[in-house]
């Protein structure tokens, strides 16, 4: 078994979170037939500093050429490999409301290393409907759709009230990676990876900064009343 430079284990979380951005920027360069890119240029299109980019890439191995830059195709491959995107991952979407349908018909999956394999909903009026080339299935099918041993990513796009129950069933069925779009925190056992995407949260963070900008003058009045 060869020990090559990329075998360096333990890529920092902050780095992993940025690799998809680099991959996307590299994709745009590939589309423009650019063959080679410097850390400065790539960092700029990904919206980070060049020092950060170089440090991030150094955790994957030494894939650049000093004095020249990075080979776009080779770096694309190395990042894809680091992220585990050399084969497609099956994705199962639960909840076919407005958001679930938007996610299901989002084309970006196929090219990005994922394939939606099943759509589920509790509502009998939605079950059976065709979305692109998939048919919405009832919740009772959930357990039969997850092949134990074969990894699969579960996406929760249900109302907040059902999210925990759906998560529990996904976990029980053997899903160990969950992406939660429901507007609630869900609890998962240790060992299950859960990420949350939430519109309200993002808007509230923006509101905070917007408020900081316009100054705390209204706040000062309130402080007095304490």
């Amino acid at each position: 078994m060869s020990v090559d430079q990329a075998a360096k284990r333990e890529i920092p979380d902050a780095t992993v979170a940025r690799l998809p951005g680099y991959l996307r920027a590299l994709g745009q360069l590939t589309a423009q037939d650019v063959l080679s890119v410097s850390s400065e240029e790539l960092a700029h299109s990904a919206g980070v500093s060049s020092a950060k980019l170089r440090k991030d890439l150094s955790h994957l191995g030494s894939y650049g050429v000093r004095g020249v830059g990075y080979d776009v195709a080779h770096l694309t491959y190395q990042i894809s490999r680091a992220l585990g995107l050399t084969h497609d991952w099956p994705v199962l979407i639960v909840g076919m409301g407005n958001l679930g349908r938007a996610l299901a018909s989002y084309g970006g999956f196929a090219t990005k290393g994922f394939k939606v394999v099943a759509l589920l909903d509790r509502d009998p009026t939605l079950v059976g409907q065709q979305l692109d080339d998939l048919r919405v299935q009832p919740m009772t099918e959930l357990e039969s759709l997850v092949t134990p041993g074969e990894a699969c990513i579960g996406v929760i796009a249900t109302p907040a009230g059902s999210a925990q129950e759906v998560a529990d069933r996904l976990v029980a069925a053997g899903v160990s990676s969950i992406l939660n779009f429901a507007a609630t925190a869900i609890q998962v056992p240790e060992g299950v990876h859960m990420r949350k995407v939430d519109l309200s949260t993002e808007l509230q963070i923006l509101a905070f900064h917007e408020q900081q900008r316009s100054g705390g003058m209204t706040d000062d009045l309130l402080e007095g009343a304490g």
Copy 2:
């Protein structure tokens, strides 16, 4: 000028990012008529450690009671105030594809400190359509919808190819907070706050960890050397 405990500016970014989660957990407690909560309980429902919660809240001021816990209503108010949610922020959504429509009809806005005030799309066949109580307007209206001086949050839900152009127009019109759902990085001038939400990125991060799980056995060889 009064200097009380809450006057401490500079709430750490990591804390700001978690405040919405605490607010949501408090909302659930309020709905259950719970009047008081300990850091342990609140932290658990928000999915963080109690030490982290207490440290976070300490940046806002001392709103707990030692030996007792936090008053749910009062803490809700203080966090809302810290985030700038004591009044509603106007939100403008650009791009009425599947995702834009899902965002527009997402009810969670109103109760969370935001109000969608305008929907825009480039496609003439979408312009004029009614979504809830708003009518989709043409892109030419963008500049007239942003009142200079009055803060407003712009949401980009267009295809990747139009995102940068839309961002440029929003910024030129005076929008200084942007939430980008398009699958591309966009550049904004210094002083404009931009946050990005992206499905592919989240799935790719999950894929990385899923791969680590199943591929971890090769790592054992390296451990031996340590």
